[in-house]
Amino acid sequence: MANMSDNNIILRCQGLSKSFGALKAVNNVDLDFESGVVHAIIGPNGAGKTTFINLLSGELQPTEGQIYFKDHDLTNASPNKISQLGIGRSYQKTNIFPKFTCLQNCWIASQSRLKTSMKFFKSAHRDMEVMERAQRALELTHLAMKPEILAANMSYGEQRQLEIAMMLATDPELMLLDEPLAGMGSEEGAEIIELMRDLAKTHTLILIEHDMDAVFAIADQLSVMENGILLETGTVQQIRNSKTVQEAYLGEEETA
Amino acid sequence: MEFSFYLIQLLNGIQYGFLLFLVASGLTLVFGIMDVINLAHGSFYMIGAYLAFWLTGIFGSLFLGIVLAIPLAVALGFVVERLAIAYLYKKGHLHQVLLTYALILIFDEAQRFLWGNDSHGVDIPAALSGSITLTDIQVYPVYRLFVSFVCIVIGVGMFYVIQKTKLGMTIRAGASNRQMTQALGINIERLFTIVFSLGVGLAAFAGMIAAPIDSLYPGMGDNILIISLVVVVIGGIGSIKGAFVGAMIIGVSSIFGKTLFPSMASIVVYAMMAGILIWKPQGLFKSA
């Protein structure tokens, strides 16, 4: 067990690797995440960012290395256990229940915080605590106006918001956000950025994002990945000034 | 019981395994490449056997019967694929199960309509009717060796086609990424028709050569279907290699099961499958 009591570290990865056949999607990553900090991971597509998030959320099992969350060893833990420990995630590719209503989507997320859902007798929608948590998530994401609309009939931007709302409804302590702004217009995007700023006051956020402006606006810490390798970690300013990073990644994007 | 007895059982098991392989390889190809569950696959085995019986009766020669029956069976596969299976590619497994189940009802009843409810047999051709003497009292029929030999030839041929020819490449490509295969200009529908018809041909052919050592009876397709499904699942869906290994495991163990635990013979096979899947839920050789 890693010793994390001496500082403010909430999540720690040690020598984390994931291979698909001969391809090393994540290659020996050592990285600590501090509590209460917004930590963004940037890098070109295919750099291994989503694989990295999938390792943290338990959707993939690491080939090598360990993950610790507070006092828990998350290595090889199932996604449901990780969620129950207080790590929520959103997906880059919208992953909602299209045939459920907007509220039902958050409902099923919120209900997961019950001790058990092996309840057969009481109608689900009578549980006020679950209902409140679901509605709060909708309010935070500005979706409270139309809870009865089918998720499939919502606009793309709204679906992206619902994606985040579902994560919020599980009341996580640490949030893994996989490209929350993917494909959003500037207005909708601004709302999400605003929301993330709010959440950052009370939560720890780990964020993958392409939109550099957004990353620089909200992140405290930045890590740069390329070809599965962690190139560098530091504050926004440090990363901006880093030669390696500019050559590998930023340089291209900024001048573009 | 002595060594030669077990040797004979082993030979029988291997020979049965080869037959299962012919049936299961078609099934696993259709699973793996077209993502279609074809429950009617066993019916084609039955149809093959009855075609051989019928044509042998007319022409007096099993070889002639088989030669004539193969194109009939492949043509039937072609028709069934075009008329029914082709509609299933975009549907879920549930509808595939249902439609092919309905095909079983139709084929089984058609068999009763054409050939009645009695059991039938087909004579072993005279040229292959001899036996090889193993010991004073134990002999092994030549025809069974012949069946094994033919299966090996077909198996090797299939391996060559799939691994070495352009058709084989497109078949493997289609199994891993259907859309990309289409986007490279391959007519995937025609590919599916070919694969399905060949699969039907293999199952029917297995029925034909097995006709002289198996008896023909209504509903005989059911047994072979379920055993082949077990083979495919044990081997790993879509894997020809898996189908071969699975067929050998099931072939040998079911023959030994019949001699060693006669009262529970059929259960041995299923228990074995359950065991393997608890150990490896995706089968022994999960295809790429």
């Binding site: 295919g46 009939n153 494909g183 | 490449m169 990309m180 490279l184 790429a288």
Partner: protein, 244 residues
């Protein structure tokens, strides 16, 4: 297939009023696109705006509910994907679509064929000259290749079908800068060889440099279609719709 005869001014692709849906979601809202012979066209827009869908619609993988597509002047709306492809269109998808269970060599030759008018400009040797790195890895399986090798392979595989037009979706995405340069150099050679291309990419700068014409898509509609010089002079358009 004789429609591609020289001196004929029929566009390679002429699409009118395309409306494409994925299930119930309406992705393309009436798109018109014309691609001429040997033309390099870039398709620009943010994520989720319909760039990939446009490419998939043109090649028939996402058939439109409304609208017409003519390839070499012939309506292909009801044609199957492989028929459209045989008109001389190749597709390089953003996920590369390498067959993991085929060797690199098999990936290259499985679909190799002559072009629509019998041209055979891209034999294996020429493709390998373009990507010397592939030569060393002929026996490797598709899933043993690095991202860069996969990208080279998917472009090489497209060339082996001797196309008149290649649709390139994010061909440089996720590659190290060195590899990106190689891919861009190859795209320039493809342009020089007279093959038309439609390129989707995030590297707007190189796109403007390389393409003859730029199309900007916003929420499933084309909001700009004009040549590169004009677009360079109007940076506010790019700023507004692409955020660059």
């Amino acid at each position: 297939m004789t429609t591609g005869s020289p001196g004929n001014n029929t566009p390679l692709i002429e699409a009118r009023g395309l409306h494409t849906f994925y299930g119930d979601s309406h992705i393309l809202h009436g798109i018109d696109i014309t691609i001429h012979k040997s033309e390099t066209v870039s398709l620009i827009g943010r994520n989720g705006m319909g760039k990939t869908t446009t490419l998939r619609t043109l090649i028939g993988l996402a058939p439109p509910r409304q609208g017409t597509i003519k390839v070499h002047g012939r309506d292909i709306k009801k044609s199957k994907v492989h028929k459209i492809v045989h008109q001389g269109i190749a597709y390089v998808p953003d996920d590369r679509g390498i067959f993991p269970n085929l060797s690199l060599y098999e990936n290259l030759i499985m679909a190799a064929r002559s072009g629509p008018n019998g041209r055979d400009d891209w034999p294996l040797s020429r493709v390998l000259d373009l990507f010397p790195r592939l030569k060393e890895r002929m026996g490797h399986m598709g899933n043993q290749l690095s991202g860069g090798e996969q990208q080279m392979l998917t472009i090489g595989r497209a060339l082996m079908t001797n196309p008149d037009l290649i649709l390139l979706d994010e061909a440089t995405e996720g590659l190290a800068p060195k590899l990106r340069k190689i891919i861009w150099a190859v795209i320039k050679q493809i342009k020089k060889a007279g093959i038309a291309t439609v390129i989707v990419d995030k590297d707007i700068k190189t796109l403007l440099e390389i393409s003859d014409r730029n199309i900007i898509i916003e929420k499933g509609k084309i909001i700009y279609d004009g040549d590169s010089e004009k677009l360079i002079k109007e940076p506010e358009i790019l700023k507004k719709y692409v955020g660059v």
